[in-house]
């Protein structure tokens, strides 16, 4: 790359040098208005054999001098300019053909190859990205399907759990009701038994007090006599 860059720098440098070097002779070959007039007037003086006034009043000389004021053709250059320009062009063309154009062409080819490689890499990257995108979309679809499956399973499990809890709650409530009913019945029976015992105790206490109050000597005697008779009758 550095070699190619050097060639690209050298080619325009050579072209500029050529133009500068060849421009000098080209400009030197051209004549000024003064020079033209001096040359014509000198020639006219020589033709007039040294008679400057004659030469100056000569109409032909004056016409020739007037021509020095006429501009050169704007289209057709001077011959020497054509020679120098053509030579410079040829030299520059040869140099460019030998050195500049191959370097530019190589640089252009390298640039084209690089762009082509970049385009190929971009296509490959695009293809890879497309593949990754496809994989990602597939994975996303799988994830969505998996998530849907998990959600459905969770929903089914939750429904089952809810149903089980409801059944267990119903069973617990029924058991609690039965237990409560049994407790109530047990308490009722216990209360009845306690009440019966209490009533019996009160009744027996009252009966005992009545008996004690009614047990005088005569009653005691009668009870003992009755007992004796009972023992006597219980023969064997």
């Amino acid at each position: 790359m550095s070699k190619l860059r050097n060639r690209l720098l050298v080619a325009p440098l050579l072209a500029v040098l050529g133009l500068v070097a060849l421009a000098g002779p080209a400009s030197a070959s051209g004549e000024s208005v003064g020079g033209c007039m001096a040359e014509l007037f000198t020639e006219a003086i020589e033709e007039a054999h040294g008679d400057v006034a004659h030469a100056a009043h000569d109409v032909a000389v004056q016409s020739a001098l007037e021509k020095c004021f006429e501009a050169p053709s704007p289209i057709i250059p001077e011959v020497n300019e054509i020679i120098w320009g053509g030579s410079a062009f040829l030299i520059l063309f040869v140099i460019m053909a030998k050195k500049g154009f191959p370097a530019v062409k190589g640089a252009m080819d390298a640039r084209a190859d690089k762009i082509r490689d970049d385009l190929d890499a971009a296509d490959q990257a695009k293809t890879d990205a497309q593949s990754v995108k496809t994989d990602y979309e597939a994975q996303l679809a799988d994830a969505k399907a998996e998530s849907s499956r998990i959600i459905n399973e969770a929903r089914v499990t939750a429904d089952q759990l809810k149903a089980d809890l409801a059944v267990q709650a119903e069973a617990s409530i029924a058991e609690m009701r039965e237990r409560a009913a049994a407790d109530v019945e047990s308490s009722r029976q216990q209360a009845i038994a306690d009440l019966r015992t209490e009533v019996a105790s009160i009744a027996l206490g009252a009966a005992e007090r009545v008996v004690q109050s009614s047990l005088n000597a005569e009653v005691h005697g009668n009870l003992i006599d009755a007992y004796i008779d009972e023992v006597a009758e219980n023969n064997g």
Binding site: L204, A207, V211, I224, Y227, I228, E230, A232, N235
Partner: protein
């Protein structure tokens, strides 16, 4: 008569009472004293307490029986209490009475009643028991207010309960 010490003391008491010739009186007095010990926890514990000096325990016996019992009875009770057998005195007396009754070919019928039985009632009860069980018995009455009314007769292991207390208990059971 499973306890040999009790049987031995009963035999000794019987021998002494028989020798003194007042067996029936001694029987009644010892029977009464034994019932007093059974019904009085403080008296029983005092006479049976080994920590109480023997002289003190004998003094208690003398105080209780002086003028209330014959000299023979007092001497016999003092013998038992002085020997440290006061706790066994009721059993000894029971064995003594049975031994005494046996000497007359009779059994002992312990009669519990709220009031004392008359002589006629005792005689008729003895005849009734003889009629019903064929045993010739001597009646020993224990006054027990808890009987309320009627009589409970114990002859050995046999019990004839005709008390008002039993009837009240039956009534109590019928309520349950």
């Amino acid at each position: 008569m499973a306890n040999p010490q009790v049987a031995g003391y009963a035999e000794a008491l019987f021998a002494v009472a028989a020798a003194e010739g007042n067996l029936a009186v001694v029987e009644d007095e010892l029977f009464g004293f034994a019932q007093a010990i059974r019904s009085n926890d403080e008296l029983r514990s005092t006479l049976a307490d080994g920590n109480v000096p023997a002289g003190r325990r004998l003094q208690v016996v003398e105080d209780l029986l002086s003028g209330q019992a014959t000299a023979t009875t007092s001497a016999l009770v003092s013998l038992v209490v002085g020997a440290g057998r006061a706790a066994d005195l009721p059993a000894i007396v029971d064995a003594f009475i049975e031994r005494s009754a046996a000497s007359r070919n009779k059994a002992v019928a312990t009669v519990r009643s709220a009031v004392d039985l008359s002589v006629d009632q005792r005689q008729r009860l003895a005849e009734a028991i003889k009629t019903s069980s064929g045993k010739d018995v001597e009646i020993k009455v224990v006054i027990d207010p808890t009987v309320l009314g009627g009589v409970i007769t114990e002859i050995g292991d046999d019990i004839i309960d005709g008390s008002v207390r039993r009837r009240l208990n039956q009534l109590r059971e019928s309520f349950r």
